[in-house]
C-alpha cells in the first residue's frame, strides 16, 4: 500500500491522511464530508476530496475501516479493531517523538556548555 496505510500496518507521520482519518473515526462513524470538516477542525489540515477518498480506499482495503451503513451517497465509515491497533501504535510512536522533542527543547534552554555536556 502506498501513502495512507502501508502494507506493514504503519500509518506514517501525524499529518498523513490515514492517521488523520483514523483519529477522526476514533470518536465515532462519519461520512466523507463530516470527516473532512472534523479533520480541518482538530488538525487544521484540509484534505482534498481526491486525497481523502484515496486514503479511505487504502484504509478499507487494509481492513482498518469499514462502512457503517448501507447509505450509498453519504456512506459513514467506522474504525475497526486493526484500525484502532494501528492508530494506537502510530500515536505511541508520535508520543515518543514528541516526548523526545520536548526533552531536547528543555535541554536547549539550559546554558550551552551544560547542554553539550561540557560541565565538570
Amino acid at each position: 500500500m502506498s501513502r495512507g496505510s502501508r502494507a506493514d500496518g504503519e500509518l506514517g507521520r501525524a499529518n498523513e491522511p490515514a492517521v488523520l482519518i483514523l483519529t477522526s473515526l476514533a470518536s465515532g462513524p462519519k461520512h466523507g464530508y463530516a470527516l473532512a470538516k472534523d479533520i480541518e477542525g482538530f488538525a487544521g489540515v484540509t484534505l482534498g476530496p481526491g486525497t481523502l477518498y484515496g486514503a479511505i480506499t487504502r484504509l478499507e482495503e487494509g481492513g482498518f475501516i469499514e462502512p457503517a451503513g448501507e447509505e450509498r451517497r453519504r456512506r459513514p465509515y467506522r474504525i475497526t479493531a486493526p484500525g484502532r491497533a494501528a492508530l494506537a501504535a502510530a500515536v505511541t510512536q508520535m508520543r515518543a517523538i514528541a516526548d523526545e522533542g520536548s526533552a531536547r527543547l528543555a535541554r536547549g534552554r539550559q546554558p550551552q556548555g551544560q547542554a553539550l555536556g561540557w560541565t565538570s
Binding site: S2, Y33, R74
Partner: protein, 302 residues
C-alpha cells in the same frame, strides 16, 4: 457547468470499478463541499492526480499490496507500451535515414553503418521477442476465448483491425501516387503529398496504439500460468535491453552523420528528428520502469 454533472464528469478519469464503489460518495462530497458551482480547478487537478493513482494501482503498476502476478503482468505490459512507442519512433527514424549512404563519403561509412545496423538488428530482435511472448500467451488466449471472452475484447480488437486496414489502404495509395512524383515533389514540393504523408503517419501511430491497447485489454484478462508469466517477464527485460541498444545505435548514427554528412542531417526537418529522439527516450523510460516492476514482482512471487 451544472451541479451534479460537473463532479461526475471530473470522476470519469477514475477506473470504472473504483467509481462503482466510491463514485456516488465522492460526488456527494463534492456537492456538499462546493455547492451548486463548478468544481474549482485546484480540486479538479487533485482528482485527476488521485484518479491516475487509482488507475496505476488497478493496472498493478503501483502499490506493494498488489498481487505479485498482477505486478509482473503490468510491468511486462508497460514494456510492451514502451516498444509500441519505439515502433512509432522507428518509423520516423527509417524515414529520416532514407538514402543516408549516398550522403556519406565512401571511407566514412563504417561508423554510421554500425549505428544503423544496430538499430536494424535491435528492431528485428525486439519484434522476435514480442512474437515469442505472443506465442507463449496463445494457449491462455484460446482458453479465454473458449470461455466466452471475445465480447469483452471485441471492440478494441475490431477498432485496431479497422485502423490497420485503413492505414494499409492509405499507405498503398500514397505509394502509388509517389511513383508519379519526382524527388522534389516527394520531399516537400507537393503540399498535397506532404499532407497525405502526415495522415499516413498519424494513422500508423493510431494503429500501433490501438493494437497495444487491444493486446493490453486481452492480456489483463488472461489466466497466465506462473511459468508463462516468468517467461514473459524475462522477455520484457530482454526487450528493454533491446530498446537500450536501439537508442545507442540511433545516437551513434546521428553522431556519425553529424560528423561525416552534416548537410544530410541539416536537410532533415528538425522537429520530426527531435520527436524521434524524444519518443525513443520516452519508450526507454517506460521499458525500464516496466522491467523494474516486473522483476520486483517476480522476486515477490518466488
Amino acid at each position: 457547468m451544472t451541479r451534479g454533472r460537473d463532479p461526475e464528469r471530473v470522476l470519469r478519469w477514475y477506473p470504472a470499478a473504483w467509481r462503482r464503489r466510491y463514485g456516488a460518495e465522492l460526488v456527494t462530497l463534492l456537492e456538499d463541499t462546493y455547492g451548486p458551482g463548478p468544481v474549482p480547478w485546484r480540486c479538479r487537478l487533485g482528482l485527476l492526480w488521485a484518479g491516475t493513482a487509482e488507475r496505476l494501482r488497478e493496472s498493478g503498476l503501483r502499490g506493494s499490496a498488489t498481487l505479485p502476478s498482477d505486478g509482473a503482468r503490468a510491468g511486462s505490459l508497460l514494456v510492451l507500451w514502451g516498444w509500441a512507442v519505439f515502433l512509432v519512433a522507428g518509423a520516423g527514424f527509417a524515414n529520416q535515414a532514407d538514402n543516408w549512404k549516398a550522403a556519406v563519403p565512401v571511407g566514412a561509412v563504417r561508423l554510421p553503418m554500425a549505428g544503423y545496423g544496430t538499430v536494424l538488428g535491435a528492431g528485428f530482435a525486439g519484434s522476435v521477442i514480442v512474437l515469442l511472448a505472443a506465442c507463449a500467451c496463445v494457449p491462455s488466449l484460446a482458453r479465454f476465448l473458449g470461455a466466452g471472452g471475445w465480447p469483452v475484447i471485441r471492440r478494441r480488437v475490431l477498432q485496431a483491425a479497422v485502423l490497420l486496414a485503413v492505414t494499409i489502404a492509405t499507405a498503398a495509395a500514397m505509394k502509388t501516387w509517389a511513383m508519379r512524383l519526382d524527388f522534389a515533389q516527394r520531399n516537400g514540393g507537393s503540399w498535397a503529398y506532404s499532407a497525405l504523408f502526415g495522415v499516413v503517419a498519424l494513422l500508423a501511430t493510431a494503429t500501433i496504439v490501438a493494437w497495444a491497447a487491444a493486446i493490453t485489454a486481452a492480456a489483463r484478462r488472461l489466466e497466465l500460468p506462473p511459468a508463462v508469466l516468468r517467461y514473459c517477464c524475462g522477455l520484457a527485460v530482454g526487450l528493454t535491453c533491446v530498446m537500450a541498444a536501439l537508442v545507442a545505435g540511433a545516437v551513434t548514427w546521428w553522431t556519425a552523420m553529424a560528423s561525416y554528412a552534416p548537410r544530410f542531417l541539416g536537410s532533415v526537418a528538425p522537429v520530426p528528428s527531435l520527436a524521434v529522439g524524444v519518443l525513443m527516450v520516452v519508450g526507454l523510460v517506460l521499458g525500464v520502469i516496466g522491467a523494474r516492476r516486473a522483476t520486483e514482482s517476480l522476486r515477490r512471487m518466488a
